[in-house]
């Protein structure tokens, strides 16, 4: 298990390899479709994403008294942000993206070029992940984007994930597809009529 603390630095990020199991502590920012489109249009968030972590997540957040409390916060499918992600990594200096399902070629290349990793969270593990979120520190764009789409600044502790795209050009998704494709071809030849 590798412990990570956000904000991250480039050296630490570049030391990670595909397949590493990590636990992340520190600050993460949620962002999904609306935010990615908005950032892609050249807008800049009030908080700095430099060396920061973006989490593809539309959390369920309730107000309890004066405090925000996260009740469910699993990852959402990342591939929808593929058209935007590479540009955002480059322009804002993002060091890690958390999500599920993996991302494509453009993001893989951006990770390699600018020193960023993709961390795959456990899809559906809403309760475990909600427990890892210790505090809602701030929110931006609540009115503009609506609650699930807003940028939530969250303090997490030991948030579990696996590195599936590293900063060396590797992608577990690509490898897995290639390996399972070869195995599938082998199984096909053994199917008897």
């Amino acid at each position: 298990m590798i412990e990570l603390t956000a904000p991250l630095n480039e050296e630490k990020v570049r030391s990670l390899k595909v397949g590493d199991m990590v636990e992340l502590s520190g600050i993460v920012y949620t962002g999904r479709d609306a935010v990615h489109k908005w950032l892609h249009e050249g807008n800049t968030p009030p908080m700095s994403f430099k060396d920061g972590v973006i989490y593809h997540c539309g959390p369920v957040v309730l107000k309890k008294g004066a405090k925000w409390v996260v009740t469910a916060a699993g990852p959402t499918t990342s591939i929808r942000e593929e058209p935007y992600q590479a540009g955002i990594i480059e322009r804002l200096g993002v060091r890690a993206v958390i999500g599920k399902g993996g991302m494509g070629e453009k993001t893989r290349q951006a990770c390699q070029k600018f020193g960023c990793v993709y961390l795959h969270a456990i899809g559906g593990a809403a309760q475990v992940l909600a427990e890892a979120i210790k505090e809602v520190e701030d929110v931006f764009g609540y009115e503009q984007f609506g609650s699930p789409e807003a940028i939530w600044q969250l303090r997490v502790e030991k948030f579990p994930a696996v590195v599936t795209i590293d900063a060396h050009g590797n992608s577990l998704h690509k490898d897995m597809e290639a390996a399972s494709s070869a195995k599938l071809a082998e199984l096909y030849t053994q199917i008897k009529k």
Binding site: G19, V60, A72, G124, A125, A126, Q127, L172, H173, M176
Partner: protein, 297 residues
């Protein structure tokens, strides 16, 4: 239906929704546990399944949704025929609205044109009700919550399929099933369960593929040909090595369930539905007075 009966029934349906959203059925829990045991200690598959098991326990303990995507709401119900169909449907819709307010269901139903969320989970097609009257004086209620991530990786083949070289025979069917698992990779939040229909038309094929999920994971298909197909597909799909979440490993699938329908001579469909590990399915017999008598899973 008188008003006390309505009130009791409403409570029973809310309880069935709560239990479905927060507790996996025993057969699924057992299967996840077994899959976890099969992964090498310290591997990524072991890691993922460990977190999944923790999540299953935590959701039950906190009585909160297992996954934040509480999915399509699919009811399969037999009801006493002396009751009116519309009255029964009305109580169920009310229960869905109430369960959404209580947070057992996420606000999860949007207008397909405007994108507007109904906020209640009630709208055209939601919840989906399969309501059948019968002569018994009890309800038999089954409920499944099926998430979007896994629904998106479902696929339908029309045989012959030139891309994968699948002809109109059992060998072709098997190629479809294995291809569906390969295409899904980790995107359907595996380890998954497949519901498959051989035959039917496009609509009945998918419908029947989902009904396969009402079967318990450990059951045996009464048709020996299908039973064999299920066993073989499970073993071979797990050899693909995709593993939990697509991280690699031995447990790619927890089960394969196959049903068969007649087809037109001109068509040969193979319909595959994928269910994620968050396999939310519960059921109960409920008296006509609205008392839950027995849980089915």
């Amino acid at each position: 239906m008188n008003s006390t009966q309505q009130k009791k029934l409403l409570e029973a349906f809310i309880e069935i929704i709560r239990k479905t959203s927060t507790e996996l059925p025993k057969d699924v829990i057992e299967s996840v546990r077994k899959g976890h045991g099969a992964e090498d200690k310290g591997s990524r598959g072991d890691y993922a399944l460990g977190i999944i098991q923790k999540n299953i326990d935590l959701a039950k303990l906190k009585s909160q949704p297992l996954c934040q995507d509480t999915g399509s709401i699919l009811f399969y119900i037999h009801y006493p025929k002396k009751l009116e169909h519309d009255a029964v449907a009305k109580v169920i819709r009310k229960a869905v609205v109430a369960a959404t307010k209580k947070g057992y269901l996420r606000q999860n139903s949007v207008d397909s044109i405007t994108g507007k969320n109904s906020g209640t989970n009630v709208g055209p097609g939601s919840p989906t009700l399969h309501l059948e009257p019968w002569s018994k004086d009890v309800f038999e209620v089954r409920l499944m919550l099926k998430g979007g991530g896994c629904e998106n990786v479902g696929v339908q083949y029309s045989l012959p399929d030139g891309r994968i070289g699948a002809g109109r025979d059992l060998a072709g069917v098997k190629k479809c099933i294995l291809d569906a698992v390969y295409q899904a990779q980790g995107k359907g939040c595996g380890p998954g369960i497949l519901g498959v229909t051989i035959g039917g038309d496009r609509a009945t094929g998918y419908l029947t593929s989902k009904e396969q999920f009402l079967r318990k994971l450990g059951d045996r298909n009464p048709d020996p040909v299908l039973a064999k197909l299920e066993d073989e597909c499970l073993v071979e799909a797990n050899q693909l090595g995709i593993g939990p979440m697509g991280f690699g490993g031995k447990t790619t699938l927890l089960g394969v369930k196959v049903g068969v329908l007649n087809r037109l001579p001109a068509s040969f469909f193979v319909s595959v539905s994928y269910m994620c590990w968050a396999f939310r399915r519960q059921g109960a017999t409920v008296t006509s007075k609205g008392e839950i008598k027995k849980w089915l899973y």
